[in-house]
Symmetry: C2
Subunit: 283 residues, 2 copies
Amino acid sequence: MVVLMDGKKLSQKFQISLLSQTTYLKEHGIVPTLAVLVVGNDLASQIYFRSKKKLANKLGVNVHDRLLPENSSEQDIIKIIQNYNEDPLVHGILVELPLPKHLDEKKVIESISPAKDVDGFHPYNIGSLFMNDPGPIPCTPAGIMALFNEYHIQLAGKQVVIVGRSNIVGRPLAAMLLNADATVTIAHSKTVDLEEVTKKADILIVSIGQPEMITAKYIKPGAVIIDVGINRLSNGETVGDVNQNDVKKAADYLTPVPGGVGPMTSVMLMKQTIGFAAKELKI
Amino acid sequence: MVVLMDGKKLSQKFQISLLSQTTYLKEHGIVPTLAVLVVGNDLASQIYFRSKKKLANKLGVNVHDRLLPENSSEQDIIKIIQNYNEDPLVHGILVELPLPKHLDEKKVIESISPAKDVDGFHPYNIGSLFMNDPGPIPCTPAGIMALFNEYHIQLAGKQVVIVGRSNIVGRPLAAMLLNADATVTIAHSKTVDLEEVTKKADILIVSIGQPEMITAKYIKPGAVIIDVGINRLSNGETVGDVNQNDVKKAADYLTPVPGGVGPMTSVMLMKQTIGFAAKELKI
């Protein structure tokens, strides 16, 4: 029988712990504060931002939101970020992506102080992670690592295959798993004979944005399957990158969609923000 | 018949091109200049430094050398680096590693301006490479990529296995190969059943510091084998991490030791220094 790795439940467990932490911090005069910049009218950005704000409120994290017009200049945005960098009352800064096309995303992200880079996307932080000296880390991979930990999935010496090489999931997750002593393979759209590669995996992580592409024939019986995909179909249904009904029969562990990896990301963001704030505690 | 990938010959080819570049730059008033800090009495550091200096002289690269005592403070070293960062006549800066134990290597490396980081070890540069937006890159992996290019080894879609996950070879090389569309696996000392992993490799790169550990049984017939190891045996012989005589029978391509990867590293360092200097050219 497959074990469904319940990200919703684990997220709630984290929330209880985080709420107690923010309460404690506030008793010591520290209000964990996250600054969020939303530029333009991208619908997905607006939705993600509102959901983060709701969770922050619930956990006692203060949010400074700056909703900036579509035609904002790079200079204006970087100026605002620099003010947050210097503001001792702001612990974490994030910029909702994607940015409008006239803006250089990398330049904007790089203007965030690495110590306040709560998304973990600054090249300095990605480099430190890759060199096994991690500081702030990206939240989706962090959530996946928390699920492994919760379900006592051993990583050292395991064959892990990651399908998808994005900067926000596949690549940083590869670094985290390598740092955890797994043997790590990164496959992607240019991989020849994907099935042969994924069938070797004790642990298979799929983050490709292809609805239900990974079926049972791609997996090794007894594998751990992490489905990072969130694909909205025209019929309104949300499905993963894995064909869950098919894979369920062969896998030992599987993250459902929805309710697996998804709920972990924003709670890891709050965890990291609160962690930044906790550095102010003097014991 | 195995093709031996001749790093000595390729290095000489690069040297001819680089000498013409420095000559051209000097005619335009630009003298490519590399600052090298050697701290303490580590014998290997001294040897590497002298060999770099010799090559630099040959290619018309000016070297500022600072030989600092074993007991130098972090503060003193960082001060010197900061002066070089601000000196418009210095294009590249490198610190010979390892540093004496009382010094924080990461802190020292991070004080080098990323734009002058000729070794490509700054976390910002490692992060940019990992995010497929490379600036300065580490020289040993750069030399290996040059060998692939010279021998027309196709990388896209190939199964590449790297054995060894060091910050100066295995990890950055994984990023470069992933950026070149290879399917990349990183194996290491904690990998279970290494032979099973390496036998899948169309291209196998070994950087583990274990004299002649990789024999024919580890490789797929017809594979490309890159031997990064330089092991000095007690009988004075230098051997790689690959048992060359054994592997020769099965591989299609093989880097010899010595004369394969080794000669490429320092020439790539000069190439990168001269590249930094060439940015001053106004055309």
